[in-house]
Amino acid sequence: MKRYALIFTLVMAITAGFGCAKKSADAAYGDDISPELNAAIQQITDARVYFAFNKFDIKSEYKEMLKGKADLIKRYSTIRVRIEGNCDERGTQEYNLALGERRARAAYEHLVTLGVNPGQLEAISYGKENPAVQGSGESAWSKNRRDDFRVVAH
């Protein structure tokens, strides 16, 4: 218990130390950031990349959008983005975790190819565990086969 308390205290101290330089931000974008940065974060997170069933290649229609995200991430070097790969409900859970990872990794690699510092990116798969839309049928499935972009620090 003592050890956990010590670790917790250390983590808090480190977090406080970095607090001035970089804000942890799964949270809403506060008033203490510039309107330009706020707009950049919105642009990075709002648009998603969607995939065909059982595919993880980036369709050409999303390449311009990813270039826009890449430019913003490069411009704001304190920004850190988590790319979250997701699948629809039809596949099985373990395979979908792997497929979601490939989807997240596809966007990650594309952004790196466009010059983004890999240190500003992280990738994770949620498989089919975190649907954007509930329900069955292609209209729901097509919205769930996606990459989400979340700014986790700025």
Binding site: R90, T92, Q93, L97, A98, A123, I124, G127, N130
Partner: protein, 431 residues
Amino acid sequence: MKKIFIFAILCACFNTTANAAMRVDIYGPGQNIVNLALAAPVTAPQIEATGMGRDLQQLVEQNLSFLPFLHLTNPRSVLGGTVLAGHEPPNLDFKRFQLAGSDILVTCYWPNGDSGIKAVQLRAFETNTGGRLFGKEYPRVTSNDLPEVADRFCSDLLEALTGSGTFFRSTLAFTKKTGIMSANIWLVKPTGRDLRQITNIPGETLSPAWSPDGRFVVFSHINPKSHALGVWDSNSKKVQRIPFPGNVVIGPAFMPDNKVAVALSNGNYPVIFLLNHVFQKERILEQGNSINVSPTFDSAGTKMAFTSSRLGGPQIFLKDLGTGTVTRVSKNGTYNTEANLSPDGTLVVFSRMTDYGHRIFVQDMVTGVERQISFGPGSDEQPSFCADSYFIAFASTRRGGRGIYLTTRHGGEAKKVPTGGGPASFPRWSR
């Protein structure tokens, strides 16, 4: 565990010699049905037990209802009734049970009454010959011990008939979902008894797997930030969360030597790694420019079945771990996943995506024949072999909510495992 051990020692075994050699071939294609009658439990000749005796009888009946090759004789069809003048030959009237079509008769005798702390004797006979299949006395039985007595007796009976009694000694680990990205691990006997939750951590748990020694359950754990290998230790009752570089931890499975294989990131595609005994990467078991996940092993650890996208869509493959040769197992369908290798290494069970949902198939590795063993409705997924290579547990939405069901390598009617409220998935047997 200690209690079970002491109980086993106390279990005085009397004359277990089987005079008769009745065997049920549950593995062959022509599995036969055996009719079994339960004589009324007695405390003395013609005196029916009404306390623990009746309760034990009900538990044994419930247990035996899970064996698809056993048909229980309706007591009303036994002329003269099931209350007997004795509990072993020559005071047993086998004729009345033969006339009712019974092949096996089970007697239950409480020599000192059936209330408080008492001994009980259970015997099984072949009605045709009067030969004893086996008999056991369970001393110092209380009402709390009855489920364990029922399980031990049914396990012994199953072993006498088929050669393997592991079904009643096994425990299923499974996941129960409580919301989006929220699920924990539970345990339950295949008969629905001893239901209990073993993890209580935020995030999603998937793919539990037992260690061969029954001490650990490993699983994938996902929270919003990371994947990790979860390890539950039955000794400490604690959960350890072990992250890996690359943030990918999918489908762990134990090998017979208590080492874990799991799909992790190798910087590109998920790769199946073998971990050492302290859960560090030891070596690669399978990799390539494709997804390779969901390893599963036979009980000798010589073969590994897994899912791979090397041919486009996901298919099942088998790797000979001695020679390194990889062969394709699933030859039909475009989406085959969730392989589980039978402990004897002869069958691979897996799920296939169809137009009507997922269905369970079995591929016989000896004959090369594929057979569908589940037919929905809904979706049937995540099949898992019991240690006897006969029973198969799987998750299904056939009754709406997702639940755990049991079938066998031959298919047949699926029986639901009671798991309480909430969607249940990923059934995995202890060995």
